[in-house]
Symmetry: C2
Subunit: 333 residues, 2 copies
C-alpha cells in the first residue's frame, strides 16, 4: 500500500468519526463471516470492558439477518467486513441493517465492491498475504476495528484509550518486525515437528480468543485441512480437557489482558498432561512503543502475526500451499 | 422428582418473577460453565430476537469475572447455573455480580450449595442422567431458562410468548416420550456404525447452536474422548467446510427457528460432499401440544433429548461409560 492510500484510509476514518458525533449510538453489531468476523472479537472485548452506555455483539452475517435482533435500529452502529467486498451474506447484512435505520460502516481491502454499495461508509484497509511483510499494520483491518471502537468511545464517553491506541499503532510496524525475527525460525521448527498431525486444537480467552478461532477455522481447517477447534481457556476445564493426552497437540495463546489467569491455568494443566504443546506468550514480545494501557488489546494483533508465521511454515513443511482449496470459490455452495 | 418438589420449583420461580416486577432490568448476563452454559444459548436467542429494551450476553463464568463488563450493575439480571452448585468459578461469579449490585438468580439440581449462598434467588431444577426417563422436563434447567427469559419479557414488555411457553411446557413430557420411541433404535444403529470414529463434528445455528456445542464438548470430548468441534452452520462456508470429506463424520441439527435456512444450506453441502452424516431434523418430531409460536424455541430441547439417546447408545457401543473421566473431579485443576 502506498502513502496516499494510507492517507485516504485516514480520511475515510475521519468521515466515520464525524458521523459518530452526529448520531446517538447505544449498540454496536459486528457482522462478518469467518476470518473477518474473528478479527472483530477483540473490539467487542474492548467495548464489553469499557463501554458504559453501549453494548456490542458479534454475529456471523447470515445469523445476524435471520436472528433479526429486536434492538437493531436507528441507534445501532453496524460494522461489517469482507476482504473482497463480495461475501453475499455480508452484503445482504449491510442492506438489512440499513433497512432498519442503522449506521453501516464496511471494511474491505478492495476499493469498491457490492458491499460498498450497500453501506453508508466504506473504509479500505491494508493487507498482505501471510508470509509477506506488512508495511502498514496500523491500518490493517483489526487495527481499524479498534480505531472505530475506541474512537466511538472517545467521542461518546470521553474514554482516553483512543489516544493511547493512536500513538501505539504508529509503532506496530516495528513491533511486528521484531516479532517476525524472533519467531521465524521457531515457527519452522514447530512446523517440521508437527507436519503430520491430523488434529491441532487452539486455545485462548478474552481479547485473544478470536485469534485462536481464526487460526483454527481459517488456517488449520480451511488452508491446511487439519482438524481443529478453538477452545475457550475457561471452558476447557468443563468438558474439553478430557480430550487431552500426550499425543494431542494444542496451541495456547497467552495474552496480556485481564483474562490472562484463565490462559495461565490452562497452560499449567496442558504442561502436566500434554506434550505436543505450542505456547505463544505475549510476555515474550518486545512491545516497545505500545502504551501500557493498551498492551492487552494490542497483544492479539501480534499473536496473530506470529500465528501467520506458523501458518506459512506449516504449509511449506506439509507441501500444502495456503491457497489450496477443494470447495471455496470452486464449487457452488 | 416428586410432586411437592415441582410445586417448590414453581414457588421459587414465582418469587423471582416478583423481583423482576420490582426492579428495572436492561441487561441479562447468562453465566455458567460447559454444559450449563450451553443450555443458556437458546434463551439468549429468544431475548436477542424479541427484547426491545433488554440485551443479553452468555459468558463462561471465569471470562465474565475477568472481562468485568462495564454495563454490569444494578439494572443487570445475572442468571447462573451449576448442577451441583459447587463450580468454583460460578460461585465466584455470583459473588462478583452481587458486589456490582446485580440481581442474581442461580439454578442448581441440588437443594443447597455454595452457589446458593452467594445468590439472591435459587431455583432447583429436575434432572435425570442420560438414558433415564425425564419425568418433569417442564422444570428441567433449559426450560427454566426459558421461563425466566420469557417471564421477564412478559413483565417488562408485555411479550405474550410466555403464556404460550407455559401451556406448551405442560406437553413437553409427552413430546419427549414420542421422540424417545422414535429415535431409540435409530440411535443404536448410528452408534454401531460410528463407534470407531476418532472425530465427529457437530453443527447448528440460532437457538440450536448451544445443543451442538453441548454435545461436542460434554458428550463427545468429555464423556467419550472423541475429538469434536461445534461448527456454526453459517460460519461453515467460511473456512470449516474445507475439512469435509467422505470420511469425516458430521452431526447436523435442523431446528424450527428463523435460522433454519442456514442449517438447510449446510445440509445440502454435507450431502453433496460428505457421507458419514447424521441429520436430526425437528420437522420429523411430533410436537403436538407445543404452540406454533414457540416451536422454534422448543425444538432445541427435543433435539437435546434425541442427542442424549445417541450419547447413551455411543457409550454402550464403545464400552466407554458416560461417567468415565481421567481428570474431572479426579486430579487438581
Amino acid at each position: 500500500m502506498i502513502a496516499n492510500v494510507k492517507s485516504e484510509t485516514y480520511a475515510q476514518l475521519e468521515k466515520v468519526m464525524e458521523a459518530f458525533k452526529q448520531r446517538e449510538i447505544n449498540r454496536v453489531f459486528y457482522v462478518a463471516c469467518g476470518g473477518s468476523s474473528a478479527l472483530m472479537y477483540p473490539s467487542k472485548y474492548f467495548l464489553d470492558r469499557e463501554a458504559k452506555t453501549i453494548t456490542a455483539e458479534v454475529y456471523s452475517s447470515n445469523e445476524f439477518i435471520h436472528r433479526n435482533p429486536a434492538t437493531l435500529g436507528e441507534k445501532s452502529l453496524v460494522i461489517l467486513c469482507s476482504h473482497k467486498g463480495k461475501t453475499p451474506e455480508t452484503t445482504e447484512a449491510a442492506k438489512f441493517a440499513k433497512s432498519k435505520g442503522a449506521l453501516t460502516v464496511s471494511l474491505m481491502f478492495v476499493e469498491t465492491a457490492p458491499l460498498a454499495d450497500e453501506s453508508d461508509f466504506t473504509i479500505n484497509y491494508s493487507w498482505v498475504p501471510a508470509g509477506g511483510t506488512e508495511p502498514n499494520p496500523e491500518i490493517y483491518n483489526y487495527a481499524i476495528f479498534y480505531r472505530l471502537a475506541m474512537g466511538l468511545l472517545y467521542i461518546k464517553e470521553g474514554n482516553k484509550k483512543y489516544e493511547k491506541l493512536l500513538t501505539s499503532l504508529e509503532n506496530l510496524h516495528t513491533v511486528f518486525e521484531k516479532a517476525e525475527k524472533q519467531y521465524l525460525q521457531k515457527a519452522k521448527e514447530y512446523a517440521q515437528a508437527n507436519k503430520d498431525e491430523k488434529i491441532i486444537y487452539t486455545m485462548a480467552s478474552g481479547a485473544n480468543y478470536g485469534m485462536a478461532y481464526s487460526f483454527a477455522i481459517c488456517i488449520l481447517m480451511e488452508m491446511q485441512w487439519i482438524h481443529s477447534h478453538a477452545i475457550h481457556a475457561g471452558e476447557f476445564f468443563h468438558g474439553p480437557f478430557e480430550i487431552l493426552d500426550k499425543d494431542v497437540p494444542f496451541i495456547l495463546l497467552k495474552g496480556l489482558d485481564e483474562t490472562r489467569p484463565l490462559e495461565e491455568r490452562a497452560e499449567k494443566f496442558l504442561k502436566q498432561y500434554g506434550e505436543k504443546l505450542l505456547i505463544l506468550d505475549a510476555k515474550d514480545f518486545d512491545l516497545t512503543g505500545i502504551d501500557e494501557e493498551v498492551k492487552g488489546y494490542i497483544a492479539p494483533l501480534v499473536l496473530n502475526l506470529v500465528l501467520r508465521l506458523h501458518a506459512v511454515a506449516l504449509s511449506e513443511a506439509r507441501n500444502h500451499p495456503l491457497e489450496t482449496r477443494r470447495y471455496m470459490f470452486k464449487v457452488p455452495y
